[in-house]
């Protein structure tokens, strides 16, 4: 059935390593001419890395394996090369310049040259034609920042097709779009297909994949698991995709642990938060949940579901704009409005991106560990450096931070040890509720195991742990209960003992029907 000569793209055994991580470990992908080929997989499975390899963001030579495009070996060393060959990628984060007009953005880096500069009349004319093809009726001179996200996405596509594209790659094109914009975009992709264009689409939304894809490749942990060809006129079974995405065996990668949940420590009711900039968007829509002492509670959801936003808004309102909702600790209503107040109440938040949000990479280990609660080791504003040393040494021992000295800079540590420093910094505040946001991302298996052990020990001490993770096996292996979050709503609460990855994935991809955006 598959005719080899009809393949527009063939990627063979692609291997890509980053320091300490093998992001792609032998991924193969073949795409037939004129089809819509979906790639799906969990967060961090390697989808985006694969597309970066294909488009030359990771240049030829920095990865292993071979790529054939239009039957010829492709050795792209940058995006210009791949675009010259006809491969255009539209990234998840839109790459438009907000202060420039639609025309200027479409031809950015590819300007229409006239005599002595840019020929704006021709450019504007061509922009109009391209905009008509994607169904945009705006003034080509309007600035990007005046457009909604849906229209911005269309500008990106117009920009892509201005480049004589034969293979269009869309990375999560509908992640930020509402339903009508999404369906318009999918229609557009179908129309391109009818004109003979080949598309690769990465998406988390399984219903969209089922609706549009001709073939689907599933990637898991840097491996390509399988490629499903959908016969014309049929739709793929979503359950089958879910099984493929999560189907790895649960081995003993998690320490044995029995929890002894005590009283309810934190109770959150009807918590509603607006997006800090796009104020008509609600990122938390009436979340209600509770966490007991000694309990590890997981929060599962896909990227952008609003888990981090929920955690940060609880942590001294450090994200978004508060709309309504109550927070109760020890049965007493509290409302920490600053991070300082949250820390005083016994909240601690280990951020998801430790390099951007969690650490001052210029700092030393000893000063980092005490940095979230300096008053504890200070008198009249002066830090007691000996007490600091004692505290840093204690956590170095307790958490087994591998370093010759606590005076070393945190930048010298491996990812796992950096993460331990961040955890130590928050343990030093003696919290009652520890929020861990992706605590094991980017650290190796051994360090992960240690991190789970630390969590279990803390739970046994009677602390409550709220754990956000995108790795379902990890949640199932470490948590007592798991809440699922989708599009800002808590869509379920399951006991980890009874839960399956398939069941969680179903709740996580549930698109709630009442997606009201205004409160």
């Amino acid at each position: 059935m598959l005719d080899q000569t009809d393949d527009i793209l063939e990627m063979k055994d692609i291997v890509k390593e980053f320091p300490g991580v093998r992001a792609l470990d032998g991924v193969s992908l073949s795409v037939r001419r004129g089809e819509i080929h979906a790639i799906c997989g969990e967060n961090g499975a390697g989808k985006s890395t694969l597309m970066k390899v294909l488009s030359g963001v990771h240049p030829h030579g920095s990865y292993g394996g071979e790529i054939f495009f239009e039957g010829k070996p492709a050795k792209f060393s940058n995006i210009r090369d791949s675009e010259g060959a006809g491969i255009v990628i539209i990234h998840q984060e839109l790459a438009l310049i907000p202060e420039l007009s639609i025309t200027e953005n479409i031809f950015l880096g590819n300007e229409v040259r006239g005599r002595g500069g840019i020929d704006w009349n021709t450019a504007r004319q061509r922009a109009k034609e391209l905009m008509a093809r994607v169904g945009l009726q705006d003034d080509p001179d309007s600035r990007i920042k005046t457009l909604g996200v849906g229209k911005q996405q269309l500008v990106e596509i117009a920009k892509a097709i201005s480049k004589n594209v034969s293979l269009l790659i869309l990375d999560e094109p509908t992640a930020a779009l509402n339903e009508s914009d999404s369906s318009h975009l999918l229609d557009l992709i179908r129309e391109f297909k009818s004109h003979g264009m080949t598309c690769i689409m990465i998406s988390h939304k399984l219903n969209e994949i089922a609706a549009i894809a001709d073939s689907i490749t599933i990637i898991r942990d840097g491996h390509s698991v399988e490629t499903i060809t959908v016969p014309p006129g049929e739709h793929v079974d979503e359950d089958r995709l879910i099984r493929g995405m999560v189907g790895r065996p649960l081995t003993s990668r998690y320490p044995e642990h029995t929890s002894h949940p005590g009283d309810v420590l934190l109770e959150v009711k009807d918590w509603t938060i607006r997006h800090p900039e796009v104020t008509e968007r609600l990122v938390c829509k009436g979340s209600t949940f509770q966490i007991r002492r000694g309990e590890i509670v997981g929060f599962a959801g896909l990227m952008g579901a609003g888990r981090t936003e929920l955690a940060r808004s609880l942590f001294g309102r450090s994200y978004g704009r508060y709309v309504k909702g109550t927070m109760t600790m020890h049965g007493r209503e509290v409302s920490p409005k600053t991070v300082e107040q949250a820390i005083e109440l016994g909240l601690a938040y280990v951020t998801e991106d430790r390099k951007v949000l969690g650490l001052n990479l210029l700092d030393a280990i000893r000063t980092t560990i005490v940095s979230a609660d300096l008053p504890r080791i200070s008198s009249r504003g002066v830090v007691d450096r000996n007490a600091e040393h004692v505290a840093a040494e204690k956590y170095r021992r307790d958490l087994r931070i591998k370093t010759p000295s606590v005076n070393e800079g945190v930048i010298k540590l491996s990812g796992g040890n950096q993460q331990k420093v961040v955890v130590a910094k928050w343990l030093f505040t003696e919290p009652e509720l520890l929020i861990l946001d992706e605590p094991t991302r980017g650290i190796d298996v051994g360090a992960k195991y240690e991190m789970y052990g630390i969590m279990n020990a803390l739970a046994d001490e009677g602390k409550a742990i709220m754990m956000i993770s995108s790795e379902l096996p990890e949640l199932l292996g470490t948590c007592d209960r798991i809440y699922t979050v989708s599009a800002g709503l808590i869509t379920g609460c399951v006991d980890a003992k009874d839960a399956t990855q398939e069941g969680l994935m179903r709740l996580m991809t549930l698109v709630p029907t009442n997606t009201t955006t205004a409160a």
Partner: protein
């Protein structure tokens, strides 16, 4: 090299800059036939540069938080003229005028800090506006005239310590200062050792401590002798004493207090600092306010030295202070820098200036050379970082980490 490292407690990098300064001084001493390292010249060096070094102390804090202050020269000039007029026309005593000057500096700083911290306007813009505004204010208040200040105020900018007691062939005030400095350093070293022993940390070998103390004592002794044996009536100068006091105070503030930690935290990673409970706005505000107060202080020292306040005081000071901070190893992106490093950076510039002047180089050549030295210092720093390994130049032109230093280094360098 290892022995050196042990001796200077790992802050060999700071020592490198000090080494450059001493080498420059010796070089010029040789080239001028012995004009540089003399009591009178060293006093001139301190008197003529201490106000820039005072500015560098505040500027390094501003640069650590990731901003810059272009208004310091204008603020200094504005405060100088107001203080001069207050003493001449309103007849207030010099000490009250001094307090008034600091308060006025605080107000100027609070104004700029408000826009930077609470309105989110970049320090570059706010202080560029301040640069124009306060320069204009100086000329408006003083009607572009020069206003003299009384004798008592001149003590601040060019005074000497009194002579008293038995004839020791030295200025006794200077001698006393030198003895006190040595005693305090010995006591601090020993108590530090005791504290380290108590908490079970690594204590340096006793021989290391002893050698370190002997070396420091020799350096202080030499400087005491130099400053104590100048022409009669001279001593370690008052501006130098003010500088030393401020360096000790601000080193302590930046490396040992909660506020100091917050400065480095905000500059190193503002988002992480915010999520660790640091009030970043308040930190920005206080650092900008503090800078203007130090600018006011520097302005008054300068007025004292030049015996009058004029419409062109403080022109170009901001750039000298900024240059000192970057030669001293601070990073443009913030989060890195030390008070001691910046003052040493300023001293390197001062020695260069002074040496070239004594060689009767014109201001044209002096400026060209200073420009190249600034560029070379920072370029070597960047180059060394890109090599990602320690090199000789890396040791000589260091980048200082935002890591607290040991106390002996905060007091040793400027003495």
């Amino acid at each position: 090299m290892n022995a050196l490292k042990e001796l200077f407690g790992g802050s060999l990098r700071q020592f490198g800059m000090l080494f450059v300064m001493v080498a420059l001084a010796l070089l010029f001493h040789g080239l001028t036939g012995g004009l540089v390292i003399t009591p009178t010249n060293l006093m001139n060096l301190l008197n003529g540069n201490s106000y820039i070094l005072v500015l560098a102390i505040g500027m390094v804090m501003v640069i650590i938080i990731g901003h810059i202050d272009l208004s310091v020269g204008s603020v200094a000039a504005f405060v100088g003229i107001v203080v001069a007029i207050a003493m001449r026309d309103w007849g207030i005593p010099w000490w009250l005028a001094f307090i008034l000057g600091l308060a006025l500096g605080a107000v100027c700083g609070a104004w700029q800090g408000f826009w930077v911290a609470y309105m989110g306007i970049p320090g570059f813009i706010v202080t560029l506006a301040g640069y124009m505004f306060f320069r204009g204010a100086n000329q408006w208040v003083g009607k572009s005239l020069t206003v003299p200040v009384p004798k008592a105020f001149q003590y601040l900018g060019a005074g000497y310590l009194p002579e008293w007691g038995p004839d020791t062939a030295m200025n006794n005030s200077t001698l006393l200062l030198g003895i006190v400095a040595v005693v305090v350093l010995v006591w601090m070293q020993l108590s530090q050792r005791r504290a380290l022993e108590k908490i079970g940390a690594d204590v340096p070998a006793l021989s290391v401590t002893v050698i370190r103390l002997v070396l420091v004592t020799l350096v202080i002794g030499y400087l005491t002798w130099m400053f104590g044996t100048g022409r009669p009536g001279s001593s370690f100068p008052v501006p130098g004493l003010i500088l030393v006091a401020l360096v000790i105070l601000y080193s302590y503030l930046t490396s040992r207090t909660i506020f100091g930690r917050h400065i480095y935290a905000v500059g190193g990673n503002r988002l992480a600092a915010e999520l660790s409970g640091v009030n970043t706005k308040r930190t920005y505000f206080l650092v900008m306010m503090n800078m203007a107060m130090l600018a006011a202080f520097a302005g008054m020292m300068f007025v004292g030295r030049s015996t009058a306040s004029g419409p062109f005081d403080g022109v170009g000071w901001e750039l000298d202070a900024i240059a000192a901070v970057f030669i001293g190893g601070a990073a443009v992106s913030g989060g890195v820098g030390t008070v001691v490093g910046s003052v040493i950076g300023g001293l390197v510039m001062a020695v260069l200036n002074n040496g070239l002047q004594l060689m009767s180089a014109g201001s044209d050549a002096t400026q060209m050379i200073k420009g190249l030295v600034l560029l070379a210092a920072v370029a070597l720093d960047v180059w060394q970082k890109s090599q990602n390994k320690p090199s000789i130049t890396g040791l000589l032109f260091p980048s200082k980490k935002g890591v607290a230093e040991t106390p002996e280094h905060t007091t040793k360098a400027p003495v």
